[in-house]
Amino acid sequence: MKKILSTLWGLLFDDARLAVTLLIALSIAAIVSLVGHMPTLGAIVIWLGLIVALFISIEHQLTSKLRKAGK
């Protein structure tokens, strides 16, 4: 558990957007599957969560780079 927390901490420092979006997606998937009893929807949430988390993180990097270049 300590290892996971330190990894998560490293990821938060590396890119907080990626880690937070991913954890939100995983939490939604867990609730949908375990509480809402919709296991297939839970799988879809994880699947989309990966893509959305990466997209938000990379898009932010691109915007920052373009803004810097424009100055």
Binding site: T7, A43, I51, I58, A69
Partner: protein, 255 residues
């Protein structure tokens, strides 16, 4: 000797070990074979001790669900971090530099911060290969115990598992050399995709989600990530091209 029990056990064990082998090979090629193998061997020793000491009641003692959640989260966090960096490098948002030098620097940094031991053991490689071998090994053991108990032929089930283990180890030895020829950044990209797909799958299993086509979902998760990466890299390159041209024109003007 029951051939059905032996074959079923062989197939079940082979599938689990091939999954573990892909990660061990990838981590070994990127972070070094010594580190990758030490994690794998440590997990095998612990699993063997558990089987010898506890035996068949092992299935009731270990809650595989929690192992899947912990290992899945660990793999997913590491994998997605690597994948993101690889996409940024391919697209030009981050410079592609000498990976060997970068790895050396990272190891030195980790040793200074106590993240890697003084003997130079890469904890990332150790933990990754240890946890994958532990999880897949446990699943393989549960398969063998289930087949052995249900068919009342434990000997045949164990024989099938041993043959599968030898076959997978031989495949690993044969595949080791060609892997070294793949460029470092490409390997990191592939490992990132693999760890992310495997991690997402296991954490989903831990949350009791229903993956369409079960284990095959690892493959379509990987394909989706591959397609996404390709589209994103193309898009970023086209967005950065005018900026790069403008910068080179400015430099030329200054000269």
């Amino acid at each position: 000797m029951n051939l059905y029990a032996m074959f079923a056990s062989f197939l079940g064990t082979a599938v689990e070990f091939v999954e573990a082998l892909t990660i061990v090979l990838a981590v070994g090629a990127v972070r070094g074979w010594k580190n990758a193998m030490s994690g794998t061997i440590a997990a095998i020793v612990i699993l063997a001790a558990l089987v010898i000491i506890v035996g068949t009641p092992l299935m009731n003692i270990i809650q595989i669900l929690w192992v899947q959640i912990v290992v899945g989260l660990f793999m997913l966090l590491f994998g997605i971090r690597w994948l993101r960096k690889a996409i940024l490098r391919y697209s030009g948002l981050k410079a592609i530099h000498d990976e060997a030098e970068s790895f050396k620097e990272e190891m030195e940094r980790q040793t200074r911060s106590g993240y890697a031991s003084a003997k130079g053991i890469d904890r990332f490689a150790f933990m990754t290969t240890f946890s994958i071998t532990m999880l897949e090994g446990l699943e393989a053991i549960f398969i063998v115990i289930t087949i052995g108990l249900s068919s009342q032929r434990m000997g045949s089930a164990v024989t099938g598992a041993i043959i599968a283990t030898v076959a997978v180890v031989l495949a690993g030895i044969l595949l080791r050399k060609p892997l070294v020829k793949i460029p470092e950044n490409t390997l990191k990209f592939i490992v990132g995709i693999m760890l992310t797909s495997f991690g997402a799958f296991w954490i989903g299993e831990g949350f009791s989600v229903e993956w369409p086509q079960e284990d095959v979902s690892i493959l379509y998760l990987a394909i989706t990530l591959l397609l996404f990466s390709w589209i994103v890299v193309k898009r970023i390159k086209s967005k950065l091209a005018p900026t790069a041209a403008q910068q080179s024109n400015t430099k030329a003007g200054a000269v």
